[in-house]
């Protein structure tokens, strides 16, 4: 069995030094906790690029071992509800250190002044090698070095269990090893703290062999669930600072309006309210939340904006994208799996499938609208209290907006409603507005977006369309696959308040390769059908719709959302593969197996086949009809490789042709992430993703007209309720020989759409190539 111990291991760079214990501010600093900010400032010449109050090159900035044998860990990744920092991260560190899970008593996540590495809160297991695992491995080696010296036993004769190092008939606890010592472990780090990726620990410290795992693989509970259920957790929404004012923002009338005149506060009704105008940013602050809400409504009614009509509207979206968008300015991206001569193979196809697939704009739609508290102090320091997926990036954006230095901006991270990628580049909305309003009034200000603000002034998941061509040979095998994926830029990280106020921001997405905020449409969907001889996957990108035309440079701003880019490419691919299977008269799962060579891809397909009770036959089912008021049943399958995890899904649906209503009856997922770190938490993540996937497939479409977004609440942007939920079956395939942990939260939300569309075809014989599959659109597809 391949394990991590068989990979070449070298310890690059780490050095261990030791001094006697010192006193700092009257507090005895012991163990590895050298990295108190005060000590660092006096003691360590920080690399200028890190700009952090914690030095990431010190082991103690990541992990502290305390004399009482407890352990503290720090990560720049905020928790967004999947709980990985409180479960998987603790398990991974406990495993590498060989301490009990419960020994890790403190997890510090997200705060920019208390965590070392930054980066977005996504991909927590980082292709099996998160920073925290390497930090733990380096710390483990340092502890063994110490023990070897203290016990007089060679390092290779030592072993550790439950935090006790033993060898040569002697033993000592980690706590006693670090007691009364001032320890300094240096570890190699690279990267840019405030970028989307943050910092990365380098080198290859020796890791514990997978075969010796005792903590990874168990279903530990998520401690933060307990505090949330008990109403003991402080959410971002709960932060109240002394003297804090409540604010609401009066956003422009359209996505291209400029301010003509701001309305005045009716001081008779709202004596304590104050209006603040900066460029096109209009805010209303008041001592109480209810007064702020009412005064903002009154001001909004009296405020005049220019009109603007620069968007295509839903009805003309795909026409606009295909015919009126500039697809030539960005270089065409090519898939890693591209090979052969697709043109020749398509020209000589025995049978050919050609079709276009369309996906709507979707909202992240957190269940609570975004909010932030900001406190711009008279000494120039800026404190922001919020729920954010990348506090370090936010810090950089705020410093740029204010023209101040990074060290003056501190972001405090708290739990909040998940928003599924919207702030992984630093902002979700409201943070920068709170800063500007606080600066204007000289007091802490809490900006809470209302539901409509969150629907209409946040970013969205980009719409997309794809042209797919598949050639089949005489044996019904795929001879060629070509995909041309078209999508406007999917990541605009400009803070909206700064844009409205006319203050400095990073540029809007433009054709610059190697940037996450680029108009280049990279190929995100990993190719999984290796035996196909001719493959061409091409990504075509363009500017965001309406952004250049908007006088305020806004238009439809996009942002990555769960399974970003890959959803937009995997839906057309997987639906087209199901269509090709039908064209070949083959079963859709067997057809995929016949075109795969990777054992893990075949493994999830076979597992989902068995778990779903799939009957092997071609689609559509015998007797499929597209008319009538009887409920028909069908099933479809989809496959994806994302972040080191293989996924296969089967959706079984019922559909009534006369109404176009689809109901998902059963959703089966097979998941091979390599090593399953925490089965219970992974299962919950998969279930949640599956439900969101049904939502994307059947419900979600951001509606907009020529001026702006008209979707403004849960009635105009529906998501599933409990009655829409099918039976969901999750099959976890623990696959230790992979030797790494794959991601678990994403992908599940993308797999439903192509499987449900294939199921509709199976039931009715009609193919629908557009999302969402709302009844009205289904009716149109069935009549086509």
């Amino acid at each position: 069995m391949a394990t991590m111990s068989e990979t070449p291991t070298t310890v690059l760079g780490p050095t261990l030094s030791r001094r006697q214990f010192i006193k700092a501010g009257g507090i005895l600093v012991v163990g590895f906790s050298v990295a108190g900010p005060e000590i660092l400032k006096a003691d360590t010449a920080k690399p200028a690029t890190f700009k952090n109050s914690l030095d990431p090159s010190l082991g103690s900035s990541w992990i502290e071992i305390h004399p009482d044998n407890t352990v503290l860990i720090r990560t720049g990744k905020s928790d967004f509800g999947q709980g990985s920092t409180f479960t998987a991260y603790r398990q991974i560190v406990a495993e590498e250190l060989s301490v009990p899970f419960e020994a890790i008593t403190t997890v510090i996540a997200g705060d920019t002044d208390r965590t070392p590495d930054g980066s977005g809160a996504f991909d927590f297991l980082g292709h099996g090698m998160p920073n925290i695992r390497k930090a733990a491995a380096y710390t483990h080696q340092a502890l063994l070095d110490l023990a070897s010296e203290k016990l007089g036993v060679p390092k290779d004769k030592l072993s550790v269990k439950d935090g006790i190092v033993s060898g040569g008939g002697k033993s000592i606890s980690y706590g006693n090893l670090v007691k009364d010592q001032q320890l300094k472990l240096t570890i190699p780090v690279k990267g840019d703290l405030t970028s989307i990726g943050g910092l990365e620990i380098e080198g290859n410290p020796p890791m514990k062999p997978v075969s010796e795992y005792t903590i990874i693989g168990k279903s530990y509970k998520n401690s933060v669930i307990t505090s949330k259920v008990r109403a003991k957790e402080t959410w971002a929404t709960d932060v109240r600072l002394p003297g804090m004012l409540h604010a609401r923002v009066v956003h422009p009338k359209t996505l291209g309006s400029t301010l003509v005149s701001a309305g005045a506060v009716d001081k008779k009704k709202f004596p304590n309210s104050q209006i603040i105008v900066k460029g096109n940013l209009v805010g209303v602050v008041a001592p109480t939340e209810w007064e702020a809400i009412q005064a903002a409504e009154q001001v909004a009614g009296a405020t005049k904006w220019t009109d603007w009509k620069g968007l295509p509207g839903n009805a003309k979206l795909y026409q606009h994208l295909r015919e009126e968008s500039d697809w030539t300015s960005a270089p065409v991206a090519k898939g890693d799996g591209n090979k052969g001569n697709v043109g020749t193979a398509l020209a000589s196809a025995h049978k050919k499938h050609t079709a276009t697939y369309q996906l709507s704009y979707m909202k992240h739609a957190p269940i609570g609208p975004t909010m932030a508290v900001a406190d711009v102090k008279s000494d120039g320091t800026v404190h922001i209290y919020t729920h954010n997926q990348n506090p370090q990036s936010l810090r950089g954006e705020i410093a740029m907006m204010l023209g101040t230095t990074l060290d003056l901006v501190i972001v405090h991270a708290y739990p909040g409603p998940g928003h599924y990628g919207r702030s992984n580049g630093g902002n979700a909305g409201a943070e920068d507005e709170a800063v500007l309003l606080s600066k204007a009034v000289g007091k802490p200000v809490r900006v809470q977006w209302m539901r409509a603000d969150d629907m209409q002034w946040s970013t969205q998941s980009a719409a997309a369309f794809s042209d797919i061509q598949i050639a089949l040979d005489e044996k019904g095998k795929i001879a060629a696959y070509q995909a041309d994926h078209y999508m406007p830029a999917m990541q605009d990280d400009r803070p909206i308040g700064a844009v409205l106020a006319g203050l400095p921001t990073m540029s809007a997405p433009e054709p610059k390769p190697d940037s996450v905020t680029s108009t280049v449409n990279g190929i995100e969907d990993n190719w999984v059908y290796a035996p196909v001889p001719n493959v061409a996957e091409l990504g075509h990108g363009t500017f965001q719709v309406g952004q250049k035309a908007s006088p305020i440079a806004v238009g439809l701003r996009d942002h990555s959302m769960r399974t970003p880019g890959q959803f937009q490419q995997n839906y057309p691919r997987e639906l087209a593969i199901s269509e090709a299977a039908a064209l070949a008269g083959a079963d859709a799962i067997q057809f995929r197996i016949d075109h795969a060579s990777e054992e893990r891809a075949i493994g999830v397909l076979k597992a989902v086949h068995e778990a779903s009770g799939w009957d092997t036959r071609p689609s559509p089912r015998p007797g499929a009809v597209s008319t009538g008021s009887s409920s028909l049943r069908g099933r479809g399958v989809s496959l994806m490789l994302r972040s080191g995890t293989y996924w296969a899904a089967v959706c079984e649906i019922s559909v009534t042709p006369s109404t176009g209503a689809i109901k998902v009856e059963k959703y089966t997922l097979a998941v091979d992430p390599g090593i399953v770190v925490n089965p219970m938490q992974l299962k919950r993540q998969c279930e949640g993703g599956a439900v969101m996937g049904i939502s994307h497939a059947l419900f979600e479409e951001m509606m907009f007209n020529e001026s702006g977004i008209i979707t403004d609440d849960w009635s105009s942007y529906p998501i599933p309720s409990m009655s829409d939920i099918p039976e969901i079956k999750v099959v976890l395939l623990h696959n230790p020989k992979v030797g790494a942990y794959g991601g678990g939260s994403e992908a599940a939300n993308a797999l439903a759409a192509p499987a449900i569309a294939a199921a509709l075809h199976d039931a009715t014989g009609k193919m629908m190539r557009r999302l969402p599959m709302k009844p009205a659109y289904v009716l149109a597809a069935l009549k086509a």
Binding site: G81, T288, S721
Partner: protein, 173 residues
């Protein structure tokens, strides 16, 4: 001046009668269980019990519930203790079975909507101690002003938790 009866205690609050109850609970009484989700009674994140019924505090004026018995997430343990006649010591060391179940089956993802989900479970189980799957789905979909919405998709875990809570409550402790 408003007088509210929240979680078994009387509170005098300086707020206009037309203030939505949610803002009084959160800003004046520092009760953080109910959350602001939509302000439109469309999601249930702000739910509280008023005389045992689930109410959306974002559209309910504080003045309209003065004198009624208001219970928030924070008040669920005491509600259970009172119903079961537990001693003060026991009451301080207990959670409502709904809360215990929510932890046991690890229901929340982000957890922002779960206040309302637990309030709805409490309302349901007090009137129907052993609901069927269909009754649970019906309660969460049709019994309130809107369905209780979860964006993270935890509905299956909520169903498991309601069933788990029913089991705990049947044991009576």
């Amino acid at each position: 001046m408003l007088t509210l009866n929240v979680n078994g205690a009387r509170h005098e609050v300086q707020a206009p009668d037309d203030t939505p109850l949610l803002y009084v609970l959160r800003n004046d009484l520092q009760l953080i269980g109910p959350q602001f989700g939509c302000g439109l009674a469309q999601c249930g994140a702000c739910s509280v019990l008023v005389d045992g019924k689930e109410v959306r505090s974002c559209i309910t004026t504080a003045g309209s519930v003065a004198g009624q018995e208001i219970v928030t997430l924070e008040g669920l343990p005491a509600r259970w203790a009172k119903q079961k006649g537990l001693s003060a010591d026991e009451a301080n060391n207990t959670l409502h079975p709904v809360q215990r179940a929510w932890i046991e089956v690890q229901t929340p993802q982000c957890g922002f909507c779960q206040n309302g989900m637990m309030i709805k479970a409490t309302e349901l189980l007090e009137s129907n101690p052993n609901p069927t799957l269909a009754q649970i789905k019906d309660a969460y979909t049709n019994s309130g002003p809107s369905p209780n919405l979860c964006r993270c998709g935890t509905y299956l875990a909520i169903i498991e938790a309601v069933q788990n809570a029913a089991t705990i409550m049947a044991k009576g402790r």
